[in-house]
């Protein structure tokens, strides 16, 4: 079947068809991500004071991934421009860089950031037991400074069997710096550089704990929204990379030789999708990593 108006404008819309198609699709994407972001706003504004965590994600790595995504947005628009100027070689290189950027973004997310969270542990202390763990929480110090309280003790779980075995009555945690030294003013706000768990071990009785788990989606509303939104965003990055690979392979050179404008329009449309994915990340990054 021959699809009409691939390179010329349709008289009634004034646009080639794919352009209208991608914008309608992006409109539905705005609603998809909009729904999730509005859920995020709801969960966050409704969280008890101190219940929404800060500084749990690795900021330098997140910043690097943001820069990588922005760079790939630039290279994809340059790839399109190269096709418009009929420079296929330049197009090929720009496309390759775009694909590599997308792959690096995904590898960092899936092989480093997510697994690091899965290995991290946090226990929310019952409200009436907070005083017992004051030396790890430093809530008197925080109250003096007018800061929200800490309810969670986090770090590296030593006895993993505690998660499943009811006979194990306590969690042994190598504490995160914030719980190892909670009254240090330097811990009042999140750090820029990632700080690994300390050697200081805390023992927390299970019966004092409201809820405890590894940093999985079910750990908290924060991680549920983090994994949902970054997961969906990651799926979009993967989709974009696959489409770009198709447009970069020799099969697309055939189209280029037959009708270069058609390939340019395809790249423009895929690029529009890619910029949208970049645009979503521009909001994800500050909301989850920084604030």
């Amino acid at each position: 079947m021959e699809i009409p108006y691939t390179v010329t404008a349709r008289p009634d819309t004034g646009l080639w068809n794919a352009k209208v198609g991608i914008w309608l699709f992006l409109a539905s994407e705005v609603m998809l991500f909009g729904g999730l972001f509005s859920a995020y706003v709801f969960l966050r504004l409704d969280a008890d004071p101190g219940a929404w965590p800060h500084g749990l994600l690795n900021v330098p790595v997140g910043t690097m991934n943001t820069a990588i995504l922005i760079a790939s947005s630039v290279t994809v628009v340059l790839a399109w421009a190269a096709l418009k100027m009929r420079r296929y070689n330049a197009y090929w290189w720009y496309m390759l860089v775009t694909i590599l950027c997308g792959v690096i973004f995904l590898v960092v997310k899936l092989a480093y950031e997510w697994p690091q969270k899965f290995e991290h542990f946090g226990a929310f202390i019952k409200k009436d037991k907070l005083e017992k763990y004051e030396k790890y929480l430093g809530n008197h110090h925080l109250a003096e400074r007018g800061l929200p309280p800490r309810m969670e003790i986090s770090g590296h779980l030593h006895n993993h069997e505690a998660l499943h075995d009811a006979n194990v009555k306590e969690y042994e945690i190598a504490l995160d710096p914030v719980n190892a030294d909670p009254t240090n003013p330097a811990m009042d706000r999140p750090h820029f550089l990632y700080v690994p768990a300390t050697d200081k071990i805390a023992t927390i009785e299970k019966e004092d704990v409201e809820y405890a788990n590894m940093f999985l989606p079910k750990h908290s509303a924060y991680f549920a929204s983090y994994f949902t939104i970054t997961g969906l965003h990651g799926a979009h990055v993967l989709g974009g990379v696959l489409v770009f690979i198709y447009m970069w392979l020799p099969v697309s050179k055939k189209l280029y030789k037959r009708n270069p404008e058609h390939l340019a329009n395809r790249v423009e449309v895929a690029g529009l999708f890619w910029h949208f994915v970049d645009l979503v990340w521009i909001f994800v990054f500050p909301l989850f990593y920084l604030l």
Binding site: T8, P11, T13, V20, A27, S38, R189
Partner: protein, 116 residues
């Protein structure tokens, strides 16, 4: 040329594709500049998040302001929205209306006319 006539017929001041191709070269510099601006503002966002603006709400507002500016740049320049056809704008006006409605639902969740 047929293509040319068609585009003029569709939109009184449409630019023929050949002409557009020559214009692309001029835009390349602009794309690079926008990319640099975006990366610079990413660094600014990170920096500002470690500045205490008094309340968390103020910090969120500042970060969202910067993010909106960045998103605007991406939409206007990379996605060519600064110079797009009527139909696209019409689609997006509808989208904006409904997505704002979505966020308004979040607000409604707190609205309680009985106990307040």
């Amino acid at each position: 040329m047929d293509e040319h006539d068609e585009m003029i017929a569709a939109d009184g001041h449409a630019v023929p594709d050949e002409h557009a191709a020559h214009n692309v070269a001029k835009h390349v510099r602009k794309y690079l500049l926008v990319g640099l601006t975006l990366i610079t503002f990413t660094a600014i966002t990170v920096f500002l998040s470690y500045v205490n603006f008094g309340t968390m709400k103020a910090n969120v507002a500042v970060a969202m302001l910067v993010a909106t500016f960045k998103a605007g740049l991406v939409a206007a320049i990379f996605m060519h929205l600064s110079n797009e056809k009527q139909l696209i704008y019409r689609i997006l006006i509808f989208t904006a209306f409904f997505v704002l409605g979505l966020f308004f639902l979040t607000y409604l969740a707190w609205y309680d006319p009985v106990t307040r």
